[in-house]
Symmetry: D4
């Protein structure tokens, strides 16, 4: 049964926007930072109830939060890189989405994107550690990159990778700056500005460390449907 697009569940302290899949194609996710483990669990329950066939996702979970989710949902939980996903991952119906990351320290953000994408039925693939300091590693993967229907590029420090990738492929590119770096990286400001000023036209950018948002943008680009 399709939930009406203007519906929401009112928990008093929260109003779960259960009409979101009908309106936008992807479900609300729980941003766990600043919430109690109980609030996270209770919101996941409401999401599971509203969309039984969908994976319910909480991002930015700390250890206490992950433990609470595991306790509440048992084996049904997949947790990594601060993401707790409740429910069974659907078989991929769209893609391929290639997630490229510049350094190994950027992996948690890339993994947040990958898990979110897989939860939305996307065939997501990860190409790790191909930063521009050793360009041959990236060029070696050019074939794989060009097969992608959409590319997410994750990079910290100089954030130079999206400019290079975007000049090599014709697929849409979503760039994710990370807070990896120190000093004048200013918590991710440096790669964020790099990506916004890319000399390769067509690069689009999401917030620092926002692997989740990049995956949702990819889901929109790939036309994932809200039929669950």
């Amino acid at each position: 049964m399709q939930i009406e697009e203007w519906a929401y569940r009112d928990l008093g302290w929260a109003k779960i926007d259960v009409g979101r899949p009908a309106r936008t194609g992807t479900a609300e996710a729980v941003y766990a930072a600043g919430k109690t483990p109980e609030q996270v669990v209770s919101t996941l329950e409401a999401l599971r109830e509203a969309h039984p066939g969908r994976v319910a996702v909480a991002t930015r979970c700390d250890a206490a939060c992950e433990a609470a989710v595991r306790k509440a949902f048992g084996d049904n939980v997949f947790a990594e890189a601060g993401v707790c996903a409740v429910g069974e991952f659907p078989s991929p119906e769209a893609g391929p989405l290639t997630i490229v990351c510049a350094g190994t320290s950027d992996l948690p953000v890339a993994r947040e994107a990958e898990i979110t994408a897989r939860g939305n039925g996307i065939d997501a693939r990860l190409v790790a550690d191909v930063g521009v300091a050793g360009l041959h590693r990236l060029l070696d993967k050019l074939g794989e990159l060009r097969e992608a229907a959409c590319v997410i590029v994750v990079a910290g420090m100089d954030g130079a990778l999206p400019s290079v990738v975007t000049g090599l492929v014709s697929a849409p590119v979503v760039a994710v700056p990370t807070s990896v770096g120190y000093g004048a990286a200013f918590g991710g400001l440096a790669p964020l500005l790099t990506m916004l000023n890319s000399c390769s036209p067509g690069v689009t950018v999401v917030n620092i460390d926002n692997g989740f948002g990049a995956a949702v943008a990819a889901a929109r680009i790939l036309g994932v449907k809200a039929d669950r």
Copy 2:
């Protein structure tokens, strides 16, 4: 004849990347700021020569630059909002792309996006002056927004419009902050940050006033082909 994807024309002071359409789907455009009118004209000529069937585009042209382009290419020029487009616009083959703008002062940036999109064979439509201070103006256009295969949202000042639009549609949304505003708008920094922090997941962002880049991103999303 298809130009080889690794080709470029070497003018000495410039190396025109004529292989770009073959690699990325869209042609190089001339960023006129900081170039002499002669440099702009000469680059447009090289682009026209390499891709006779394509519109060649220069952005950020001032009056002197526009005059030089008109003198060089005559009737073949369409100029508005700082864009000079040389050649005939193709019939639309992809879209629709809806370009939404918050205030009338944002129109030049929206028009830069619209002209660039049309030059790439996209059916682009403009919905102007639907800022969130009078929400009913936007809701009145909801049907039109939901027909779009891709949406570009242009806004200055508080930059709140993309968050609202993205919660209402399932198409990909590319947000363009503008430098419209004063004081704590800090030349577009305020709407840029707003958009990067959107509470509606899936918003992607380009540089301040970068209507051109938003249109190229849309071309990638809509799968415009490099077959001209």
Copy 3:
């Protein structure tokens, strides 16, 4: 007995401005950050002594501070969201004040505002989790919003909610940006700038996370009197 408006209690290391209610309508509150629990308790005692009929409030209390206050004042203490309020809450004599908050992570700031308002004799009501990503949740509460004599809007991330609310009501709107968010939210800078640049005229803004200040502004707007 009315305390003279230019009076203060001199504790040596502190000078309690007990004339403040007579001058400004609201009492001095204790900003607990950077003070020892003893200093907080001792200031609250001085405030209670000067204004026996008023709730004495300390904000930004940590656990140690709260424990000290509870130990000193016993059952007379209400504590939540870092606020310790000593004394009995008066019956509401002004309002209604509606406090709207965008996300559940913004609740502590909204609660700081609510408790402060109630301590000043205001009929305060909370509408939680009505962010603009699911606009229907807000529109559903439009009647309630329009009954308010004053509205406080609390939002982190994109900070877009005050612009939307202010376009729908005629009451005064006080906007409170919160530090909820990450990356380019820069500790609340993003929603702060959004609110200062609101396209809805008439929005006024207080400091990041400053629920207390918003409530005092509301008390001034609602004309709460200093007759206790």
Copy 4:
């Protein structure tokens, strides 16, 4: 005849929100920066048509814009400090509103507030040049300040005046930072931060140089009605 609150006039390139007075109590004003004189005049005409009994206001007008407005509306125009007001000012029905400004260089912003307020039927009074470097000038006006139902405080440079005023009166205070200053004033950033961090609780703040917005906030606070 009352215009319906969800009405707007569609000029194609602009959608005049003529329902705004019915919803919010004050009419839309024209932000002239970035618009052509023709666009400003045509929007003012639409506003005059919709609300014949109201003053129609354009802010941030340059000389060319002011000339165009004068040509279009003749004697019906009052212009000063970049504001063009078309129509007859109503007799004051609310107030008094006292507008305090710190230095003589802040006067244009104070005047923008004053004219906007008067156009909304407010009894507005100006107290100029009472900066805190010579405190006795301010204290001399204490009586006048305390008669005000609302106070707007305009200050550049250190922006210290609102903190002092707010500690002396019980009326609501709206603070307006100005871009007056140099060096580390950073175009008004310094007084903006000062005001947001005021040690006097209850100060609310609008954008740098935003005299217009402060006046609209005052109109909301004073409960100006939309019955014209």
Copy 5:
């Protein structure tokens, strides 16, 4: 015996500038942050050896560092507000220096200034908690302020106090912004900018939380001699 002004003690990893009193009137102090307790103790020993009649001072000491200093120098140590002073305080020979602080949370910075000043033979007096929100507390101390040969004003949050004090006295004023505050105080940036932009001419400013530096500036102003 006077140490030659170009002398230094070479510890290998450190070069103690024991000629500094002869050149500049005040001795080198140990900035303890980022040093091991051993390094702090060993530097203090070198300073004591070079200038047996002077108090040797380390600032920004944490608990471990203070313990090490107490262990090394025993009863000879006075420690407060992160300052460890070794040796006997001289009788005051210059001043009076009045140290004014806006709020009780600013006290540690004011105390760092006071101890440093006393170590340099200055008659230092503290006037606490006289922020501009309750101006009468400051005006009550006007006599005391005007007796001062030099004034240090310490304030966080809005940093407005130095502007007010400087308009009331003729002595030199050294302003110290503190990191007290939250949100848009940005770690002391707000009061720093306020003070740099003071509308009262003649205010001079030192780094955020730099009570030590303010006291050394006062020692130069008061002409403290390097004869020990």
Copy 6:
């Protein structure tokens, strides 16, 4: 005749603080930026009337303003570096004050300080172009520097000069950052931060390009009396 310290002249749009010399030792000056030439002249007239024996000073005058001042006061005007001084310079009664500047492009700011100082009866001397890139130029002037009762150091770009000077002399040092520089000088932010973080304790700092303020601070330090 001594003017009462709480006096002011009320011009309506301005309130001249004629009591300032009695309170603070130096007279109000006119900050000409943002004022009309008429306003500047009229304020200078009020100052001359109140303090006939004092030089009346306007800073930041453009050509039009200087012309108006010359027209109003004739031969009685000395104008340079944007300063217009009306009246006869007194014979020096305090000092010497040495004004050191790093580069020749910093000269206008140094001259603003020099003229202001001389107007306040200070024996001011200028040492130009002794930046730290060629340290021997500075060391060559060490004798002169050490004779000074107060030192003002003016520097743009890296702003390193005050740290070096302060380590060589025992007089009070007031540092003035200038907007000389480009790129990452950010309009004077770079030298401002340098000076605030000086490793030489005792450096005090004024606003960027604020030669006037530095001279007033020097007047306070040198104890210039308000007996005219």
Copy 7:
């Protein structure tokens, strides 16, 4: 005759550091911004007198300044990109230095570096318009790049080019960010941060648009001797 390394010429308002070549290998240059044409000419004359065999250079010259220099030195002047070089260029004795620039708008900065380098006896070569959006243009020049004894990389916008170049060569790399770009380029801040955070170790950076400084760094690296 070798000028003594601690020598300087005292012009009163300027102290020409004629000992600089003896100490540092390169001569003082005139930074023309903020100087009068007369000051520039007179400084160039002093430099020519001190070092007759050397090219004397002024940077950041506007048209008026260039005209004055041409008038003073006639045929002996080479002027381009804001640089005026007086004297005959020496035959190259060091290098090769390859100057790579990302876009044609970066050419003036690259030319400033090239002229400065040639004036110091360096064999300088320019490789223009090889930005990373079309990587093949750069890879095509790999041979040339690897022959260089030192490489200067000039780039605006995303500033990604130095990271790529540095991963391909073993020569020292000096990166120059330019102010080319708009919006979030923030006048060159974006490429500056990119370069400081390069993932290719060994990149060194100079100020925004500082082609002159990069060339002097190259002269130091290449060991250019001060024997003229």
Copy 8:
């Protein structure tokens, strides 16, 4: 055996760029922040395998990471200042490189540079605690400084030291700002800007606290060969 310059080892989650020495002269190092101890050890192993004769280096190691490295490589490890170096240090074949540091709190960054340099076969020497507040300490080492083939200058706070050193020597200077300082040092921003704006031409700059990068730049400057 020389490894081919385009080679890399693919560990799946990491792609070790083992061709880097052949291309750039220095080997890849492990940036340990954000990596697990296992990842660090495993990468070091791959580096040791590829280049058995080279020291393999990990920077920014915490205690857990250092323990894991010691456990894996035993006596072969040298660890200090967050650096873990595995393998035997080669005898110096290039230099001398003099590393100058301003204060003792800057020592860890200077040590990171020194160890990295020694690992690359450079004769590195440390001159500590010669900040400009006591200039004679630096001048005392002038002979040593002038013997250097390359100089690294490490400084926090005001960052003034590189300007002074660069004016005294002709060798290339690489400046390293550190995060030592507080308040307006803003985590190293202040010395970073100082160094970028140095009035001594030829200063080049690396990221805040980037001792490693400075040493690699020095290796390039000194022409260290990749023949191991």
